[in-house]
Symmetry: C2
Subunit: 156 residues, 2 copies
DNA sequence: CCGTATCCATTCCGATACTG
DNA sequence: CAGTATCGGAATGGATACGG
């Protein structure tokens, strides 16, 4: 009756979800991108209970998504995104784009640091450089990469 | 004491999470991309309990991520990704990439339908075409797009 | 200000039994 | 095969009181 875990799952999607597939964790990371660094900042901007925030911050630090950096002249520290954590911007942006496409205005926009203007939307490219749309792709087991798709038995 | 909801949140990330930010939902979508269509296929490939699967399928259909398509000569139907559902491949791919980058081999690879070869990784581009890395971007409120970043008071 | 510890309601999840 | 109904245990989330 115990809840299933995906930590050992072969699929990286499942493992990632186990790690950061929690709503609060994602929102904490979002706020980290938006500039939050202090415990109180996260607490205030998210309206999250302290114990939950503590728990999630701990997990995110343990995962290497956030790191604690000491504050000069203070006993406390800030939470900063690590490289691994910044890697999550792709995930956030994908989620954001999807959420925008499905109604509702955007509250956050990804901008180019240089000129502060929005970046072009996410784009996929084929290995030869062609740009790919949703219908040009499909998810297959790695073992079958390059192979012609076998017929799927439709259990008749 | 009721659990917080983000359905009405201004941020599309929060709203999206409320919709599909659940581990099972995401994995169901993953399986849909991988070819699962029948109730029993999802049940078997995910090892999910029937009642939960029922619940999630229902939600995903209500959300417009999946749709029920009748099967000829059967009282049953299949669950197929809608356009909105296929839009989630960006999210899945971003999660997958992140998960891969953080150890563990990939079990799924995104391939080009034409030649069955892997697609190039996700890439961001500036509006003028330059390719952007993680450190070239940052997430800001839409209202501040184009504006110079104001100093953040560090509450000292 | 930054947590920790505790309490309690709600929700979730898995197993099982049952239906058409 | 594709669900529905129900149940108990577990995990979660929120409030609050407390400590450094």
């Amino acid at each position: 009756m115990k809840r299933k875990t995906f930590e050992e799952d072969a699929c990286p999607v499942a493992r990632s979800l186990e790690a950061v597939g929690d709503t609060w964790s994602v929102l904490i990371v979002r706020q980290a991108f938006a500039g939050d660094r202090r415990f109180g900042e996260f607490e205030k901007s998210l309206g999250i209970a302290k114990n939950i925030l503590t728990d999630r911050l701990r997990k995110l630090v343990a995962l290497g998504v956030l790191e604690q950096v000491p504050i000069e002249g203070s006993a406390h520290h800030e939470y900063a995104l690590t490289g691994k954590g910044r890697g999550l911007y792709l995930v956030l942006m994908a989620i954001r784009q999807w959420g925008e496409g499905c109604g509702g205005p955007a509250d956050y926009t990804l901008v180019d640091r240089r000129d502060r203007k929005p970046v072009r939307p996410l784009a996929f490219h084929a290995h030869d450089g062609r740009e790919l749309g949703a219908d040009d792709m499909e998810l297959v087991p790695t073992a079958e990469v390059g192979k012609v798709r076998r017929a799927r038995s439709t259990a008749g």
